[in-house]
């Protein structure tokens, strides 16, 4: 069952020019939410911003949930103006948890603000697998949450497109050499559409679990708004069948 909670913000912090990290106290949702799932945030009591905005859970700590988001439009602009103590009306957990593996070589691959949902996942996967994390961004100010990942105790490699930190290039380019040294690797990826598209050829040889995005109406499976085409024909409902999907099963 989906839970609705009004939780106060316990911390809001700017991570980059337009990227914010928010911790919300939401005891009932935080108890249940798993890596890969997301919450729906009501932006405004008023009628001008009607639909909830979906955000992946970036981390959980006791009764608190963390999300990390980029300002891209009116909803996220409004949310970015929140202050400590403001109440957010959220629903969750939404979506299916990411499928978890055990005793495997795992590569976590995140681009831009797409690294957000991978932190909680890394924390969980790290307990039972060999995990390597690749984080990429356009430039150093956009490279977020690096110390959070390092604190988990996993190996973290960085890439930037301008070469200002880590290896110069795209995070997907850094993936091939890492995979070539592994036996039966599993990849979890989240990032901009172009990045996920670049992983499609790889998904035919290696298991790639990708976090996808699509415009959502309800986030709960009732409106059929969040369609993603399946290779086998028809569509899946990203909010119910995803948002983490096996990349070889969808058409991007």
């Amino acid at each position: 069952m989906v839970i609705q909670e009004n939780g106060p913000i316990t911390e809001i912090k700017r991570l980059g020019a337009e990227i914010f990290s928010v911790w919300i106290a939401a005891a009932r949702i935080s108890q249940k939410i798993k890596p890969g799932q997301f919450i729906g945030v009501k932006v405004s009591e008023r009628e001008d911003l009607l639909l909830r905005r979906p955000f992946s859970v970036a981390d959980v700590n006791g009764d608190k949930i963390r999300i990390v988001f980029r300002v891209v439009g009116p909803g996220t602009e409004r949310l970015a103006r929140s202050k400590n103590g403001d109440n957010w009306d959220i629903i969750g957990p939404l979506g299916k948890p990411a499928p978890l593996v055990r005793n495997r070589n795992v590569v976590i691959c995140g681009g831009g603000v797409g690294v957000a949902p991978l932190l909680y996942l890394t924390r969980v996967l790290h307990k039972a697998n060999q995990v390597v994390v690749l984080l990429g961004a356009r430039c150093t100010p956009e490279l977020i949450m690096v110390s959070d990942f390092r604190r988990v105790g996993v190996k973290v490699q960085l890439t930037t497109e301008d070469g200002s930190q880590g290896v110069k290039g795209l995070v997907t380019e850094a993936l091939a050499p890492v995979l070539s040294e592994m036996r039966a690797p599993v990849v979890y990826a989240c990032g901009p559409k172009g990045m996920i598209e670049a992983l499609c050829p790889l998904s035919e040889k290696v298991k790639v679990w990708a976090f996808l995005e699509e415009r959502m109406g309800c986030g709960t499976g009732v409106c059929y708004g969040c369609a993603v085409p399946k290779k086998a024909g028809g569509y899946l409902r990203l909010c119910k069948d995803g948002p983490v999907v096996s990349l070889d099963e969808v058409v991007l």
Binding site: M1, V2, Q4, K42, E47, D48, L49, L50, L51, R52, I91, E214, R215, M216, G217, C218, T220, G221, V222, C223, Y224, G225, C226, A227, V228, P229, G233, G234, Y235
Partner: protein, 302 residues
């Protein structure tokens, strides 16, 4: 007060229903569904339909534009998979039927006649499909023809869902009434086009249907107009989000209301509307719906 509403032989425990397409097949949130006056299921067609390509939904000021395109598993799957589970619902279920031809409407009706659903809502108003849909609903003659053909094949409660797109719904409502409809419902979404920064259509289906608070004043106008034109009960919808909104539709003469887009904002959106209505009933001391229904012209309720 007694919240129950009776239309023909169907007893709705309260006047607030979940609108088609915004509450799935009523199975996702059983505890919510069981507190409603009724559930109208997602549009059902004879054959399974994949629906329109994404993106299918986008927010506009105080509204939502969708081009889902009637994605559904088809009536055979509905009967074997969904219907047995629907029987767990305590409230009446109306099945929203969509079709590209008169024959298809008849076929759907015949298949559902033997099932325990309480009623049928003929969707003669969907703007998101190429054939059938709104094209049927724009001509009184076509509305009468389809209604008459379906009426012949069913004893169930028959609701005809009208469009307000480029047509006077008072005319199509009269046609539906004359052809044997037990009730009419309105409005479906309004024609809409959303363009992106580059001036290209945003939705995968190119155009879509506008719903939500943005359409409420127009929907209310249409409902009042239809209430004055026909004797059969009218089911009103369009932008209902609060008990006050529902009250306004009932004062305009609606027997029942449906809540659509508000279910997207929260799964219990329709229950919230009902709670608001109950609160109003208590504060204003209504004894029964006749105290309220159709009294809009009389002004103050104090």
């Amino acid at each position: 007060m007694k919240f129950e509403v009776l239309i023909r032989d169907v007893k709705f425990p309260n006047p607030v229903l979940a609108a088609s397409g915004t509450f799935g097949f009523g199975l996702e949130f059983l505890t919510v569904a069981n507190r409603l006056g009724g559930v109208v299921t997602k549009g059902l067609t004879v054959k399974p339909r994949a629906g329109n390509p994404p993106p299918r939904i986008v927010e506009t000021p105080s509204g939502v534009v969708n081009s889902v395109g009637l994605e559904n598993p088809g009536v055979a799957m509905f009967k074997t998979d969904i219907l047995p589970r629907l029987q767990r619902l305590k409230c009446p279920v109306l099945v929203n039927l969509a079709a590209g031809s008169l024959d298809e409407f008849c076929e759907l009706t015949e298949i559902l006649e033997e099932t325990p659903v309480a009623g049928l809502e003929l969707n003669l108003s969907c703007p998101n499909v190429k054939e059938g849909g709104v094209a049927f609903g724009q001509k009184p003659q076509r509305v009468a023809e389809v209604t008459r053909a379906v009426r012949k094949r069913t004893d169930k409660l028959l609701v005809v869902k009208l469009t307000a797109n480029f047509v006077d719904p008072a005319e199509t409502a009269k046609a539906a009434e004359a052809a044997g409809a037990d009730a009419v419902s309105l409005i479906n979404t309004l024609f809409a086009l959303v363009l992106d920064q580059n001036g290209r259509p945003f939705l995968g289906g190119r155009t879509g249907g506008l719903s939500g608070p943005a359409i409420k004043p127009f929907a209310l106008f249409c409902v009042e107009r239809v209430v004055k034109a026909v004797k059969i009960p009218v089911i009103g919808m369009g932008g209902i989000r609060t008990g006050q909104d529902a009250f306004e539709f009932i004062s305009a003469g609606a027997h029942l209301v449906q809540v659509g887009t508000a279910n997207l904002t929260r799964p219990d959106g329709a229950v919230e509307v009902m709670k608001g209505l109950r609160r109003l009933a208590r504060i204003r001391g209504w004894q029964n719906w006749d105290d309220v229904r159709g009294k809009a012209g009389e002004g103050c309720f104090g």
